[in-house]
C-alpha cells in the first residue's frame, strides 16, 4: 500500500495555521513553516511535519515560547551570541543565520552561536540561506543525548549534524548535510516503522555491545559515532560530534553533552542544567572576502563536474555529489506532493482536531 500524498500547499497551509494557533506572530509562523516543510521537500521526512505535533506538545508543556524576544547578547565585528528566548528553533535559527550573513557583509565572515533554543529542523535549510548572497553557509546544532562516544556505554552526545553549503556557478550548489553518527536517528525511525533490523555498526546495547535491534535505544542502547567502531574511526565521529556540541553550546551558554534537554515533552529536562536550552552554531563566509565570486564559482563548477564524471564501481552509475538527492527530491515534491506515513497523517489529524484545523 502506497503512502497518501499531500500537496505542498496543503501541508504548508496546515502547518502555518498550527503555528498561528500556538500564538506565533504571523511572520514567525511563516518562517517556521518554511523551515519545517523544507525537510519534507528534501526527503528528510523525520524532520518535517512528522515533528509538528511534538513541537506543539513542547509548547503546551511550557518549554517552547511562541513569542520569543530573539536578541544578540554579545558580539564582535565577525561574531555574535544570540539568546533564542526559548523560541522554536525553526524561528530562532533563520534569525541567527541572518545575523551571520549581515556580519559577513561587513567583516568578510559572520559566526553566530545560539543558546536557549529548541530543535531547529534540518541544518541545510539554514546554511543554504547564505547561497543567494554568494556566501558559504554553515549550520550545526547539538541535540538530546542518544550517542555513546567510543568506549562509552553512556549516551553523552546528540546526533549533532553539520551542514556546509557552498555556491557554484552553472552547477547546483554543494550542500553537505549530515548527522555525525553512522546513521541519523531518522534512519532508525524508518526501520522501526518497517519492523526491520539495523546493520551492525549503527547501534550498541546498554552494555556497549553491537546490536541490530532498531529499538535498542528504548532499552538503554545508543547510536554510534560515524566510523562504527574504534578500528574504523568512530573516535573521529566522536571528535565531530564533540566539536559541534562545544561550538553550539559551550561558546553560546546552552546546555551541552548529557545535559541537553530532550526534544520530546514526555521526558523532563535534566534537573541540573549547565546552560540555557539547546545550542546552535552558524557561519557565513563571503566568497569575495577570499577571491572574486565569479572565479570561485567557475572552479566550483570544475570541481563538481570532475567528481560527477568520475569512473564508478560496477553497478553504480555515478558519484553522488552532496546535495544532489535532496535537491532532486525538492524539485519533484514541490509539484507532485509529499507522501506521508499513515501514522503521521493520523497524528496530524488528531493535532488539527484539537485546534480546529483541517488537513486537506
Amino acid at each position: 500500500m502506497k503512502d497518501p500524498v499531500y500537496p505542498y500547499a496543503s501541508l504548508r497551509d496546515f502547518a502555518s495555521k498550527v503555528f498561528l494557533a500556538m500564538g506565533c506572530p504571523a511572520d514567525q509562523a511563516d518562517t517556521a513553516t518554511d523551515a519545517l516543510l523544507r525537510a519534507d521537500l528534501r526527503g528528510i521526512e523525520s524532520h518535517g511535519v512528522a515533528r509538528l505535533s511534538g513541537y506543539v506538545r513542547l509548547w503546551e508543556a511550557g518549554r517552547v515560547n511562541a513569542v520569543p524576544n530573539i536578541r544578540v547578547v554579545h558580539e564582535s565585528p565577525s561574531t555574535a551570541v544570540v539568546d533564542g528566548d526559548r523560541g522554536l528553533g525553526l524561528v530562532v535559527a533563520p534569525a541567527a543565520m541572518q545575523i551571520a550573513i549581515e556580519k559577513a557583509r561587513v567583516a568578510g565572515t559572520g559566526w553566530v552561536a545560539v543558546k536557549n533554543s529548541n530543535h531547529f529542523g534540518i541544518a541545510g535549510h539554514h546554511a543554504m540561506m547564505a547561497l543567494k548572497h554568494d556566501m558559504i553557509g554553515m549550520a550545526m546544532t547539538n541535540a538530546s543525548p542518544l550517542v555513546a562516544p567510543t568506549f562509552s556505554v553512556e549516551r553523552l552526545l546528540g546526533t549533532n549534524p553539520i551542514c556546509v553549503a557552498i555556491p557554484a556557478g552553472n552547477q547546483p550548489p554543494f550542500v553537505a548535510d549530515f548527522a555525525t553518527t553512522t546513521a541519523a536517528n531518522g534512519k532508525l525511525e524508518i526501520l522501526q516503522r518497517k519492523e526491520q533490523d539495523a546493520p551492525v555498526g549503527w547501534i550498541q546495547t546498554r552494555e556497549g555491545q553491537p546490536s541490530t535491534n532498531a529499538n535498542e535505544l528504548k532499552s538503554g542502547g545508543a547510536l554510534i559515532p560515524l566510523g562504527s567502531d574504534r578500528e574504523h574511526g568512530s573516535h573521529k565521529g566522536f571528535c565531530l560530534g564533540a566539536w559541534v556540541d562545544i561550538f553550539s553550546a559551550v561558546l553560546s551558554g546552552a546546555n551541552y553533552g548529557p545535559w541537553v534537554p530532550p526534544f520530546v515533552s514526555f521526558l523532563a529536562p535534566p534537573a541540573d542544567p549547565v546552560g540555557e536550552g539547546i545550542g546552535h552554531f552558524f557561519g557565513a563566509m563571503r566568497i569575495d572576502a577570499f577571491r572574486p565570486a565569479t572565479e570561485f564559482k567557475a572552479h566550483m563548477d570544475n570541481w563538481i563536474g570532475r567528481f560527477r564524471q568520475a569512473r564508478t564501481i560496477a553497478g553504480q552509475e555515478h558519484l553522488v555529489i552532496p546535495g544532489d538527492p535532496e535537491r532532486e527530491s525538492e524539485q519533484e515534491k514541490i509539484h507532485t506532493g509529499i507522501p506521508l506515513n499513515p501514522k503521521v497523517v493520523e497524528d496530524l489529524k488528531a493535532l488539527g482536531g484539537r485546534y480546529g484545523i483541517s488537513l486537506n
Copy 2:
C-alpha cells in the same frame, strides 16, 4: 628488537641543519624544525623526521622554494588569502595561522586560505598556536589524491585532515586532529613496514572491491572515506574530505581534487594544474568574542571532566578525550627521546651524508 631512540635535542639539531643546508633563512629553519619534530613528539611518526628527506628531494627537484616570499594577496577584516610562494608547508602554515590570530584579535575571528604551499606536517601543530591566545584554532589541508569517494574507483581526494583545538581551564585543551578517511595513510605505512594486513573498510582495489592488502594503493587501489562503506556513512566521510578540499583550495586558488600535486619527488605534478601548489585553511576564534574566556573555560573543564568519567564498556578504563594520547606522548618523549624505525635512521644518515651533517 627495539627501535633506536634519539634525544629530542639531537633530532632537532639535525633537522634544523638540514633546513639551513637547503638555504632556509634561520628563523624559517627554526619554524620548520619545530613543526616537523612536533609530529614525532606527538606520536604521529609518519609526519615527523621520517618525511625530512622527502622534503629535501622536493627542494632538489625545484618544487619547494627555500626562500619564499609569503604574502597576503587578498583580504577583508576577518579573512585573508596567502600565497605561500612554493615554500615548505612547515613554514607557510605557521605564518598563515599567525595572520588568522592577528585578524581574530581585531575582528573576533580570522580565516586564512592558503595557495601555492606544500605538505604542512600535522594540522594540530598549527591549530594549537591559537590556544595560548585564548582562541580556538582550526587547521585543514588538502593532499595528494589517494582517496576514492563513495562509489568511485578513481582517487580524487587526499586524506584531508582537520584539526580543531579548543582551550580549557584546569583540564588540558581539547585537540581533535584527524584524517577524514577511515584510516590515515600513516597507519597503512605502519602495516606495510610490519607486513600485516589492513582491516576490511580501510582500502579498496582498483575496481573498488574491499581489500585487506596494505600495499593495495601501489596497484591502483584507494583509501576509503571515514565510514568505510555507504551503509556505514562513507558518503559523510566524502563530505568531510570535499569540504576540506574546497576550503583549502577552491577558496584560495590552489590545486584541488585529483589535481593536487603529489608530495613525493618521483611523481610528477599533473600537467594541467587548476591552481597553484596545495592549499590549506586556518581559523582562529577569540573566545571572548562569544563569552568571557574564564566562563568558557570553566564550562570546558566541566565538559571534559564529565566525558572523562563516563561509564565505559567492559575492558576499557576510560574514554579517550581528543588530544590526550598525543599530549601524553609529547610529555614523555620530550624527556625520554624519540624512537625511530631503523629504515628511517638509515634514510636520515644517507641524507646527512649528502650534506655533511651527522646524526648523533
